[in-house]
Symmetry: C2
Subunit: 220 residues, 2 copies
């Protein structure tokens, strides 16, 4: 991983790949784009990664200045993206756009966490118009939460509870999966498998507009 | 490479990485974005890749529908991107943008080919305004050529000679390197180390405007 390579003239692509050209590294970055995470959270979300491999990738990312450790209080340490690390957002975003056209080839399993949903949602939402939207929503999926903030044409999706959300959208993983795979109509999903708790009247329309645009983008 | 993986709900990022989440694969795609290439050309450009590894990566890319073999006449076969493969352009582009901020950490060596320059140039040029530009230029670097076409706000850079270029820009690898690394002033580079053969009067100004914008983007 860390041995010197030969660089090519004007080859920023190779220089990028020396830092983030590794599958696990990109998956770690994906999860951290959803917000800071503890080692155990990352390990649980990255199904199949060995602890020593995760340790090695995190050390390389820290060496390269893409992530840093932070004291999260109560004796816990979290990893989070640095400013440089956040600049990988566009790469992650384009990977999501490219991969969105492929169907899962094997049975989908319950993820260890929903960080991937937060990152993908945030990435996809950057490609749809949001100038007409302004709200804060909490998405709860089987007890886990994503904090979704939309304002002034910018969007932020984090794996976290929301402070004072305009609405709380609650659903289950199986139903969300069936809907996203086209096996359940969105209106059936909304009617029978989702609950919308509106705290600020009128915001549910804006929320559903965003979800419709994102779903169209990811499935279209 | 090809064993089934567990997919996550809404994780197009992981699905993308199963296809292009490998350093050599991304470098092969980088080179093919500059135009079709023979096996031997790819091998020469990808310093350090073993023939069997290149064979394996090409087979995987073909299996996934990202590249295909084409008969290039005279008994030669070339690999080229499919429509699906061309959709990786945005990922390559964002890698170039992310990597552009890092300086080479080891002495730069002469690349086996200049495809990387064509791909990076094409990627970078997509981020600068070109609506005011319309020209076709051939860039010759130590005898290799890049065909650069700009029209109607779109740009196409290929590792190839140009048909009827408006201008031919000739330089050498060492000087281009020194200029791109900030060790030589652009005006000194243009005066002493480059030759501009203008076929269509006035087009040199448009060409230099594009090069200035791209250089500013990559170094700024």
């Amino acid at each position: 991983m860390t041995k010197a390579r030969s660089y090519k003239l004007l080859c920023p692509i190779a220089r990028a790949l020396d830092r983030i050209g590794d599958r696990w590294t990109l998956l770690i970055l994906r999860d951290l784009h959803a917000g800071p995470a503890r080692f155990s959270e990352l390990q649980r979300g990255l199904t199949g990664i060995a602890a020593n491999l995760l340790t090695e990738r995190l050390a390389k990312l820290a060496d390269d200045g893409l992530i840093e450790k932070q004291d999260a209080g109560h004796g816990t340490t979290v990893y989070e993206l640095t400013d440089l690390g956040r600049q990988t957002g566009n790469v992650i975003f384009e990977l999501a756009m490219f991969g969105g056209q492929f169907k899962p080839e094997v049975p989908t399993i319950r993820p260890g966490n929903l960080r991937t949903v937060a990152t993908t949602l945030g990435a996809a939402a950057k490609r749809v118009p949001t100038d007409d939207l302004s709200f804060r929503a909490e998405l709860r999926v089987d007890g886990e939460a994503i904090d979704l903030q939309v304002e002034n044409g910018t969007i932020n999706a984090r794996y976290s509870a929301s402070a004072n959300p305009d609405l709380i959208f609650t659903t289950g993983y199986e139903a969300l999966l069936a809907m996203s795979e086209g096996e359940m109509e969105p209106n059936v999903f909304l009617r029978d498998h989702a609950d919308l708790d509106v705290k600020t009247p009128g915001k549910e329309a804006e929320f559903l507009m965003l979800m419709t645009r994102v779903t169209d983008l990811l499935t279209g």
